[in-house]
Symmetry: C2
Subunit: 472 residues, 2 copies
């Protein structure tokens, strides 16, 4: 770490050694939980439990003070009562630790006493030249090295490694709150900012813009601490990778709630809207979008333009997708004459967009091959920049051929694809959804999110080239 | 049926006897599939397969012509090639059948030839005084008598009986397309209009307004055939029960798609918007809302006003809910001084709305009892007309106590409640969602749908009293 600059926060994600302060009581202790997670997710660094109790846990020696740890420490995870935090921060400072995550609640988000305590630990941080993430945070995840600092159990023990970094100002943005692995989110990092007394979105966007594993940055924010600096870094970042923000506390009631949640001052939403637009930041409107939309940027090429082909097993779903496409600024393309002729050869009703496969598939001997052939023709048309495929998951009898077919269609095109599906058996729909998502084909249970993802990909494509020209 | 008026469509839902025309080929035949479903779902009437093959199927005698059926028939389900449909309609007419569902595709939605054929069968219907549902429809469901006409397998064999009637202009609005039973939709009827050559939304809304089992009508429509009549009946209906419409084909591209899907002419959306408002019809914006929002009307009392209490395990989710509430016209209420004092006795940070249970629950010995006590205090406050409860489903260890607690909270209040939840293990979240939904507590995986449901309940409460006054 020594060679990096003081503001560098890489130690929060890439520590070789971590001290964990917190109760080691089995199953319920916060320290116990954080260590359990690091072990379960195969953290590649060394873990040093620190607790006055001493002894041993999970085969690791427990140190009664951090001074006794026999080697330099890169990161401390601190989940102890608020009043004990300042002394621990001092000990960390003396030990030379440069990155401290404070999981403890009861600081600025709680009351004036907590705010005073928070200012105090920040003073200590400045004095010792260390950085603080939190307080009131569940910390970070780094899928590259298995670092998972949340003290809460997640129900799973691995992640799908991929390009999405999720940052948030809530414990909802966490491996223990959302099915990161079960729903196959291709993940690089997670960071919960908590109260943001020190490390905030400016540091994160700076770090993630340089992170090779991160292809897209999705942030849930209640406020922005230093707007000018944030927008400046965002502008530079969007040339390299998309920045998607779900800004909450947009209304007076929401802002008031944010103030008592993380001590945030949310500010006027119109100002954020204008600033985000100028900085090339894309906006997400809800939790579903926050989680689902980044998938498209993790695996799909950027569309060459706004012209979308809609391929649907259901005529009614095609109508809804066409409405959504237009409302989100996409163009429901017309196919070239050559494509129309090829489609008409499959069925006399197939020249339009949306391409309603349903009637032809119903009477086909091999509906899966027919669907594949139709999709290939549509995707080969220069009039289409992208496609949304609306499927029915069925009962699971034909699930393997269906998955294989969609994988081939995905592999054989250079255009961005998204899939939406519904079906009568949730476990079958979930299997299809997960297997395709795991394969890098963004698959959605919410049609609005699928179309919105495509439209943001088009928007980002434009932003990327515009901002690159400005920078050149 | 004899005593009812000619326009009565009850035979489509309440037949004592049904003739099924269609291939009886095992597993793939449309007639076979429809009969299989009627048997699986325990249809209480008599089923008469009609097929030139004769013989026997599922222990039922197959009649080579409908004339040979030894008793009067109330309904015919016809799924045979288009060119054969007119002769069958004639036979049905001669047999005295007054209700015919035509499942067959290839009519007005297909081409000019199909449109001519459709006009022809409509002429026949008029000549014989029978009503046609379709063509190009999967027909109906009636949970009261087990009538399920879709030829496609659903993967389940029962429904949760309840107050929602779903009607749509797509096979997506069907037991084989959406997990009606697995996701515990409290269901009375389903009807797919198909091409609406005869029976349409006017007939349906008229029928459903009088149906004792139906408490809320949710319609997916691409067009409205007779606007004046529809709005007139809707105005009368909304005094008794809410009418929710998801109108698609709103954009030019969507309307064009609708024309080639069901031959619909969608018309200018602004006109629909104004007309719906005047008729007291509530509008749904997407598929998720179409399916999920009606739940609140099936089981919850109407809110006395717009003041909502937000009770959340997550501060960040509370902020989002507050934003959504305000954006949807709800008021994030302030609690009475008495309630504030009671809440402060639980924790010094609990007097605000959203009520962030998280910090207190984390350190409580019995977080479930604490949550229940807090919810009871909040729901007793006269300043709150309704509540949204934002939960975390966890790993499943405490799922039974959690479900039981929410059930008690639900049982002990006279105010409308909705629940939203997320969690790391999809199967646990699904279990919580389904068990609560089955118990009549509307539970959502999409926070926007949960808040929108509450806001439409407030809107309907106002509509109901305004329209009742007008009618008085």
């Amino acid at each position: 770490m020594e060679s990096r600059k003081a503001s560098d926060i890489s130690a929060f994600f890439e520590p070789r050694t971590v001290a964990v302060f917190g109760s080691l009581k089995e199953t319920t202790g916060a320290g116990w939980g954080a260590i359990r997670n690091m072990l379960d997710f195969g953290f590649k660094g060394k873990i040093y439990p620190v607790n006055p109790s001493g002894g041993e846990i999970f085969g690791l020696q427990v140190y009664t003070t951090v001074e006794q740890v026999p080697e330099p420490l890169d990161l401390a995870m601190v989940i102890i009562p608020p009043q004990a935090v300042p002394a621990t921060v001092q000990q960390c400072g003396r030990k030379g630790i440069r990155a401290v995550i404070i999981g403890t609640e009861g600081f600025a988000e709680a009351d004036e006493g907590g705010a005073t305590l928070q200012r105090h630990i920040l003073d200590l941080a400045h004095r010792y030249g260390l950085r603080i993430l939190g307080p009131n945070t569940i910390g970070v995840v780094n899928t590259a090295n298995g670092l998972v600092t949340t003290p809460y159990p997640t129900g799973y023990k691995s992640f799908l490694k991929g390009g999405i970094a999720y940052c948030g100002q809530s414990g909802l943005v966490s491996a223990h709150s959302h099915p990161m692995e079960p729903y196959a989110y291709p993940l690089s990092k997670i960071c919960d900012f908590g109260n943001k007394c020190d490390v905030n979105e400016v540091d994160l966007i700076d770090y993630l813009s340089q992170d090779q594993d991160t292809k897209v940055i999705a942030m849930h924010l209640e406020d922005i601490k230093d707007g000018r600096k944030f927008l400046e870094i965002a502008r530079k970042t969007v040339v390299k990778k998309p920045v998607l923000i779900f800004k909450t506390g947009q209304t007076e009631a929401g802002a008031k709630a944010a103030a008592s949640h993380t001590g945030s001052l949310s500010g006027d939403d119109r100002i954020y809207e204008a600033a985000f637009r100028q900085a090339g930041i894309l906006r997400l409107g809800n939790w579903t979008g926050f989680w689902e939309i980044p998938r498209i940027f993790a695996s799909q090429p950027l569309p060459g333009g706004p012209r979308v082909a809609i391929i649907s097993l259901s005529g009614g779903a095609g109508v809804v997708a066409a409405d959504l496409a237009v409302k989100n600024g996409l163009v429901v393309t017309s196919f070239s004459d050559k494509t129309k002729q090829k489609l008409l050869a499959f069925s006399p009703r197939l020249a339009n967009n949306p391409v309603d496969i349903g009637p032809a598939a119903t009477v086909a001997n091999d509906p899966i091959s027919l669907s594949e052939a139709i999709m290939s023709v549509v995707l080969a048309d220069k009039m289409a920049d992208s496609a949304v495929i609306l499927m029915h998951s069925g009962l699971g009898r034909a699930i393997t051929p269906l998955i294989d077919m969609l994988r081939r269609v995905h592999r054989n095109t250079t255009k961005p694809l998204v899939v939406w599906m519904d079906g009568p058996v949730p476990s079958v729909t979930a299997q299809l959804f997960c297997e395709l998502a795991r394969d890098g084909l963004p698959t959605y249970l919410d049609l609005e999110a699928a179309i919105k993802a495509l439209s943001l990909a088009v928007a980002y494509s434009r932003i990327k080239s515009e901002f690159s020209e400005c920078a050149a």
